[in-house]
Symmetry: C3
Amino acid sequence: MQKLLMILIDENDTFGDLSLYEAICRRLIELGAPGVTVMTGIMGFGANQKIHRKRLFGVPDDRPVSIMVVDDEQELRGKILPVVRPMVTEGLVFLADVEVIPPVAGQ
Amino acid sequence: MQKLLMILIDENDTFGDLSLYEAICRRLIELGAPGVTVMTGIMGFGANQKIHRKRLFGVPDDRPVSIMVVDDEQELRGKILPVVRPMVTEGLVFLADVEVIPPVAGQ
Amino acid sequence: MQKLLMILIDENDTFGDLSLYEAICRRLIELGAPGVTVMTGIMGFGANQKIHRKRLFGVPDDRPVSIMVVDDEQELRGKILPVVRPMVTEGLVFLADVEVIPPVAGQ
């Protein structure tokens, strides 16, 4: 079964010398993820209510980032999440059921 | 059970003196939502076919906005939707099942 | 039952003389889709690992694009997907269950 993995973090989150979202993308490529889509938002807040308000109304450059991967559930649970989940110390990681519509025959 | 709440509106929608998406974010903070992610798109159309075409091919500054919240279903249905749903007179509001992947032990 | 249709393609993908995402939007309007939201991301990779890396670290102008439509399942399967799916030769097309929250009574 295919699942959508969505990771919601901040653009300014870091992982070693890299931005966290770039580090996660590199690992996803290494792990053989079939595709990744990274999008940024315009505002967001996470775990800390004080930071929320500051971000929401004061700091325009710490944007939320979403990373989406669609893959087989066993790949996501067995191979990708064990590596990627520990990289996200603050942020949200979730799975959702999806039905992938394959290319039409002969395409 | 956790659900994703997604609200799709337009960037130019207003609520009193505020943009609607900012007004919704303020209410979500007041209501104790654990996190919010707001993203803008590049084009969209909604209920009115005429407006669609105009937006789609003529007006680049009325972008779609998505607001995402992941929370317990009872919080969303009992506390957040009763306040936020009436704020959205045009637009789309929907819930989807998600499985939140918790931080690894010791993180 | 309502479903979310999500199409993930690249901003530079073409369809005839149009960008693919614009071509898909035009068809969705013609097909009577109740609404469409188009968003662009900041990075992505798809089917070809070599292209991935190049895109990811070298080419900032080939951004991923997501197209979202929420509609009745029978409309999506019977009317929209037969037209739109063949337009996407590279990219990802999937459906997800959603529960649309209707406007409150009297709104």
